[in-house]
Subunit: 262 residues, 2 copies
């Protein structure tokens, strides 16, 4: 069993656990929490793929027992919509709204105004390390986030100013990347604001939406995350995830806070 | 009282009505439904502005009595998160998840990588008409959607192929545009896919998310909507709304279906 499958496993009663090692500075990664919730909710939906899923982040996820609850709001011919949550005994950690479907064959691609980011070969990229950015990113023992050199300047305090983080994604145990894993990918890269000339450290997510547009072909993903607007202490981050065949497999957008660096 | 305020009015019990005249081909506009739901949910939240709001569209909204229900999932220092719905007696029309706050003073703008669309003066734009596109767009008696000539070719069967719809937005009765109205604006323009060389007619929304980034200054908005990826019978549409002072006031993204034209 892959580490990701183990970490997103739930019993038939929706009970599972936030496992240790999927955190950034002690708080479970938001994409991991989203995948865990989605895994429970898709069982309720009776459909495999989160076509569009939104989470609002309400409390930090800490290792330990959690449960996924949900209500099927509508089950139609093509989609089922579920309102749900991931909680520990007392608190809602994330509240989620999602529509599930089946993306087995997305073969009629009609318009593509865009392309995967151009990336240096993986062995010339900078793998994101546990310990980067001044606090422990334990998650990086589970996944490989390999940053193109043009956006890795933030590590040494020299962001490019473009507000764009681009790189490769794969699992350390080479688990195939499926729609559930795409939810993790959507929040696994360093915040794109790190590539701007804005003092930033911890960038807590308020809300994250992912559209899964196709099931990925085997192989690592090419990903692009961009922040264009920082105002009022908030920012958006837009993501695109592309598979080895050059198909757009997911788009993401999050709204996040930009607390002042003391 | 403005037409929009009348159409989004709810009693203290959350009961209101979908009013006639806010529809496209008989179905209430999705942005109008979202504004109606948000108006009820922000009362529950005790905070005025929908900072991030997501709706999943489950059944068409027809004129008549409706109610907004909701549960405050978390009420914190800065935000309150509400899970809610808009329904008629039997059916959930939209299921909504939203976080509300107060955007009174968004004055520290730090990064803006983007600009409002360049638009022809309003008197040289093409106002979207009731009757455009082969079916009645009654909504256009309430609002002014004035399209820049470069994207109005679809009206005569000559889309530019850019997949971008740009134009001005204002209310016919010149009601000021506030965060609630921005939810309407986010779904008030012709679908951007009309500007692509893809046969399309009715483009039903599966999910719509709006981030309100600031309260608009007085005056009409400059808006841009773009569709870049059409695949598997689905498409995304990204929107930006800019006020008269050149401030980005909202971003939107929706996932929509592209049914085959018979």
């Amino acid at each position: 069993v892959s580490a990701f499958d183990e970490a997103t496993h739930l019993g038939a009663d929706g009970v599972g656990a936030i496992l240790d090692g999927w955190d950034i500075g002690g708080n479970a990664n938001g994409g991991y929490l989203l995948a865990l919730a989605a895994n429970g909710m898709r069982t309720l939906a009776g459909r495999p793929d989160p076509v569009t899923i939104t989470a609002h982040f309400l409390a930090p996820g800490r290792p330990g027992s959690v449960r996924v609850d949900g209500t099927v709001v509508k089950s139609g011919k093509r989609f089922a919509t579920v309102s749900g949550s991931l909680s520990d005994g007392d608190r809602t950690i994330i509240q989620v709204l999602a529509t599930f479907g089946d993306l087995t064959s997305v073969d009629d691609i009609e318009v593509v105004h865009g392309a995967p980011p151009e990336l240096a070969p993986r062995d010339q990229c900078r793998r994101r390390q546990t310990g980067d950015g001044g606090f422990p990113v334990a998650l990086m023992d589970k996944i490989r986030v390999e940053l193109d050199p043009r956006c890795a300047g933030f590590v040494t305090g020299q962001p490019s100013g473009n507000g764009e983080i681009v790189g490769w994604f794969s699992f350390v145990d080479d688990r195939p990347i499926d729609p559930l894993a795409l939810l993790l990918v959507a929040d696994a890269f360093p915040p794109a604001v790190f590539d701007l000339n804005v003092p930033s450290a911890w960038v807590p997510t308020v809300e994250l939406t992912v559209h899964v547009r196709a099931r990925p072909a085997p192989g690592p993903l090419r990903c692009r995350f961009r922040t264009r607007f920082v105002q009022g202490g908030m920012l958006e981050e837009d993501g695109e995830m592309w598979d080895e065949q050059g198909t757009l497999v997911a788009m993401s957008r999050q709204l996040a806070l930009l607390p002042r660096v003391p």
